[in-house]
């Protein structure tokens, strides 16, 4: 299992994502955003951070990085692609996921652990969880309010494409408490919370570790 972690200028959760992927037993490595070679990745992770300083809109400029052509091809081939926080914003800007992430409803940057509920186990990144399972992971974002038009939201619900919801409090005003979604093909997942920052007990929670355990999930399947 080869997991590529893409680094944009301004990524700052790349090392954490790499460590979490490596801890799952994967061969994890970085790909610089100027490269178009994903080096045979089975899985691609777009990590959190502030790519291009969030200039214009979070993710708006990163989505045109050369690597994104290869990332889009990887997704189109049905291979797993995960966007965490800024990575989720990049995936929405790239229209690999529907909707958008805008300024938190309360305006403040929110950095604290939140409770999440797993809404579907039918994605590569949630196959190791059970539906309804509650997890604790940190969020750390200023622009995490998921928005989409009503037709898109209805389709996400109807098609079981909401992957995580906030429970016990919505930190950013996201529509329908959405914390993470998947695409029609179910191979692309984006979420605002940080599973890599909850990947071992020493960090306060290991609830996120299974997101990266694709090798184990594939072996079970």
């Amino acid at each position: 299992m080869r997991i590529a972690v893409v680094r944009f200028p301004g990524s700052n959760c790349d090392q954490d994502a790499l460590a979490a992927a490596a801890a799952s037993g994967a061969d994890a490595y970085y790909v610089w955003h100027r490269s178009t070679d994903l080096a045979g990745a089975d899985v691609v992770v777009l990590p959190g951070g502030f790519s291009y300083g969030d200039y214009l809109r979070p993710g708006a400029i990163a989505r045109f990085s050369p690597v994104m052509r290869s990332v889009a091809a990887h997704a189109a081939a049905g291979r797993p692609l995960l966007g965490i926080c800024n990575g989720f914003q990049v995936l929405c800007e790239a229209q690999l996921l529907p909707g958008a992430l805008v300024r938190n409803g309360g305006l403040s940057f929110v950095c604290r652990p939140v409770r999440l509920r797993v809404e579907t186990d039918a994605t590569p990144f949630t196959a190791r969880y059970r539906v309804g399972q509650e997890l604790t992971m940190p969020v750390a974002h200023g622009d995490g309010r998921y928005v989409a038009d009503a037709a898109t939201l209805d389709a996400l619900e109807r098609e079981d494409r909401i992957v995580f919801r906030y429970v016990g409090g919505n930190p950013n005003g996201a529509m329908r408490d959405i914390a993470g979604i998947t695409n029609e093909g179910r191979n692309v997942v984006g979420l605002m919370p940080h599973p890599e920052r909850a990947s071992e007990a020493l960090l306060g929670s290991s609830d996120g570790a299974a997101v990266f355990a694709l090798a184990a999930a594939a072996a079970v399947a």
């Binding site: 214009l56 809109r57 708006a60 400029i61 045109f64 929405c92 800007e93 529907p98 909707g99 958008a100 805008v102 300024r103 938190n104 409803g105 309360g106 305006l107 928005v147 989409a148 038009d149 005003g173």
Partner: protein, 85 residues
């Protein structure tokens, strides 16, 4: 020919604009009565080389659609395309 294009990007009316609400609140606190709503967007000024004003406008329009505005959350207006001396 040189042109300057001004692009106004605004959050779509259907999407809550907490920045605008905060500014409206602050104006009220400062004693400015009668402000019923504020919305915060951004203005971009582009300096362009193009063969004609039409070409400059068409180019700026494509830039808005591709990058400058997010079609999910924002509306844009291409306010002015002016020739520069």
């Amino acid at each position: 020919m040189k042109f300057r294009a001004r692009v106004r990007v605004m959050p779509r009316a259907s999407i809550l604009d907490p920045q605008g609400q905060a500014v409206a609140h602050a104006l009220g606190e400062l004693g400015f009565a009668g402000v019923t709503a504020v919305r915060v967007g951004r203005t971009l000024e582009l300096e362009l080389e193009a063969a004609s004003a039409e070409a400059a406008r068409a180019g700026a329009l494509r830039m808005c659609e591709r990058l400058l505005a997010n079609p999910v959350t924002e509306d844009f207006a291409l306010d002015a395309v002016e020739a520069q001396p």
